[in-house]
């Protein structure tokens, strides 16, 4: 499973807008590169990124080959209830990487 990093506050006041940051280590090969032998390196990308908050989907991104390596997403979420924020990256082969953090709403 590729290495992923997330950053968000552990707690927030109800109604507060919090910044969420997520990054994953991935080459995002676009299919236009060659190795040292001159052979084309096939496309190898992450196709989907989904973030759910307490079971509800809040962000869904479809990635394309034009995106650079190690995709990094940053977005805002309105805190309403305590719950788990789950991150899920799916690559073209179906390999799934997950990460999650708990948000305490006071």
């Amino acid at each position: 499973m590729p290495n992923s990093r997330i950053k968000m506050p552990e707690s927030a006041a109800a109604g507060e807008s919090i910044e969420i940051r997520a990054m994953i280590m991935h080459p995002m090969e676009n299919g236009f590169n060659f190795d040292s032998q001159g052979t084309t390196i096939p496309v190898h990308i992450i196709t989907d990124f989904v973030c759910t908050y307490d079971g509800t989907e809040v962000v869904r991104v479809q990635l394309q080959p034009g995106l650079s390596a190690n995709p990094y997403f940053s977005f805002y979420l309105t805190a309403s209830r305590s719950g788990s924020v789950d991150f899920r990256w799916t690559d073209q082969d179906g390999t799934v990487t997950t990460n999650s953090a708990l948000l305490q709403v006071t």
């Binding site: 290495n3 990093r5 950053k7 940051r21 990054m23 280590m25 080459p27 390596a69």
Partner: protein
């Protein structure tokens, strides 16, 4: 031939104080390096932290079994490498020391040069020394290696017949196509290079530079590059370690 602009662009520090590659970066790239989350090199540092505690080999030992917490014991290590090894009778770099530990202490396998795991461990250990000045020994038993490294730096090579010093000493601050020529300091390695879209070691950079002047590069981890690395580290003495630095 070099496409150098007017001499007014010349850097006044060309022959003076060392200047980190950081100071040649755009505002955006500097921000990326300074942000401990957005800096993509931190992915490798995080991976290295995992590897530090991960058991390997038949004795199921990890780096941590001997060295303890890296934040306590590895604080100054990266400032001293490349370092003369009395056992081997030659100067070795941090990557080679990591592999020596893996083979002799963990009884595990050596990691391939430029592999993700070796880059991660090197980045993690170097990151512990972030902010500390580079401080390598170039006297005593390391003197011969240092002299060879210096000779490499001033030796013209390749079809373009350029030495490292031609660009990174003589023409520092001039323009080469869209770039400003830097001093070529290596205080931030391993670096996340935007061109490569990944992490790279000093030796990968040396290979890249050698190929850029159309010279036959030496193998990664070769003694020629270790010697050059020692000389380059000495050039960067007193510059703070920036690992993981972000470069174009």
């Amino acid at each position: 031939m070099l496409g150098c602009a007017s001499s007014s662009a010349a850097d006044s520090t060309a022959s003076g104080a060392p200047r980190s590659g950081y100071s040649y970066l755009s505002e955006e790239t500097r921000r990326l390096q300074d942000d401990d989350f957005a800096n993509p090199g931190m992915l490798w540092v995080q991976k290295g932290e995992e590897l530090w505690t991960q058991s390997s080999g038949p004795a199921a030992q990890s780096c941590q079994s001997c060295h303890g917490r890296a934040r306590d014991t590895m604080r100054t290590v990266a400032t001293r490498y490349p370092l003369y090894s009395p056992e081997l009778g030659r100067v070795i770099n941090l990557e080679q020391q990591i592999n020596r530990c893996r083979v002799s202490r963990l009884k595990s396998s050596a990691l391939a040069y430029e592999s993700e795991d070796l880059l991660a461990l090197t980045a993690f250990i170097s990151h512990q020394a972030k902010g500390l000045p580079v401080d390598v020994r170039v006297d005593g038993p390391a003197a011969a290696s240092f002299a060879r490294g210096r000779a490499f730096f001033y030796q013209r090579r390749g079809q373009l017949n350029l030495a490292c010093a031609n660009c990174h000493e003589r023409y520092v601050g001039f323009r080469l196509h869209g770039e400003t020529i830097s001093q070529g300091q290596i205080n931030g390695f391993p670096i996340y290079r935007e061109l490569w879209q990944t992490m790279g070691s000093t030796h990968r950079m040396f290979v890249w530079c050698n190929e850029a002047v159309r010279a036959e590069p030496y193998p990664l981890g070769s003694q020629e590059y270790i010697d050059l690395e020692l000389f380059e580290r000495w050039r960067a003495r007193a510059l703070p370690i920036e690992t993981p630095a972000v470069r174009r």
